[in-house]
């Protein structure tokens, strides 16, 4: 018999990976050594922010058990 809590956690884990890839990818650029323009820096920071907000939404709406 499948455990709904385990299923929910597995789904959440999977769903979080996509926005997490965005967060890590752009955070790496922002913390890297290559020079960025102000517009690029703002654009990348906004992408990190919106992916973070998406992750929070996923966690808030996760139905575990």
């Amino acid at each position: 018999m499948p455990d709904p809590e385990i299923d929910g956690l597995a789904q959440l884990r999977h769903d979080l990976r996509t926005p997490l890839t965005v967060v890590i990818g752009f955070a790496e650029i922002l913390s890297g050594e290559r020079p960025l323009t102000d517009d690029e820096r703002r654009d990348y920071a906004e992408r990190v922010l919106s992916a973070g907000i998406e992750m929070r939404g996923l966690i808030d709406s996760a139905r575990l058990g």
Binding site: R17, G25, F26
Partner: protein
């Protein structure tokens, strides 16, 4: 390297386009659905198509099968956030030459894509435990020493020609060994054969990152 990116998550699609571009990869087209992706691959004939496995309502593995049925010369890298074992084997069964996880860095992804574009294959090294833990309930016919040796070298990233050179055999002989190993292991592709051989313990995992073959 010309790439078509098929990913339903808009932020990741746009983000990857930028990130891969910064790593020197030319993203010539992006799509968020299987239909649009198929059209782009047909139209643009990229060196590699990066295909998300879960494309909203669509299925990236089914899309891969379709693209390869239409033209087996196409190079496809499946991309997923899931390290699920069944999904991995289903993905390899589809004929995709690469299987990458979203956990990897953009640089790592570009290197894997380049490997696939050059005619090789790639399985994310993070999937090694899944490859190794799966034990088939059916006993597969054993490989000959030479077949093991060939698959082992392919798994280390050598091309078919380099394997031939290393073993002082002709390229045709190597191809025959690979074909025989694939038949015995019921594998559809070389990378699938490597994955099964690892899983069954016929060969050892390579030491370096990524299970790959440029053959």
């Amino acid at each position: 390297m010309r790439l078509v990116l098929i990913e339903d998550h808009q932020a990741l699609r746009e983000g990857l386009e930028l990130l891969l571009d910064r790593e020197g990869c030319s993203v010539v087209g992006t799509a968020g659905t299987a239909d649009e992706g198929r059209r782009l691959v047909e139209e643009l004939a990229p060196d590699v198509a990066l295909v998300d496995i879960r494309l909203g309502e669509d299925d990236g593995i089914a899309l891969t099968r379709r693209l390869l049925d239409d033209d087996p010369r196409r190079r496809i890298m499946l991309y997923t956030g899931s390290s699920d074992e069944e999904l991995l084997f289903s993905g390899l069964d589809s004929g995709a030459q690469g299987y990458a996880l979203k956990d990897g860095s953009p640089r790592e992804l570009v290197e894997a894509l380049e490997q696939v574009a050059r005619g090789g294959s790639y399985v994310d090294p993070r999937l090694r435990p899944a490859l190794l833990s799966r034990r088939s309930t059916e006993r597969l016919p054993s490989l000959s020493n030479r077949e093991r040796e060939v698959l082992d070298l392919l798994a280390q990233g050598l091309t078919g020609e380099q394997v031939a050179e290393r073993l002082v055999l002709s390229a045709e002989t190597i191809k025959t060994h690979i074909r025989n190993a694939m038949t015995k292991l019921e594998a559809h592709t070389r990378v699938h054969a490597i994955a099964i051989a690892l899983r069954e313990g016929f060969i050892s995992p390579p030491d370096d990152a990524g299970i790959g073959s440029r053959a």
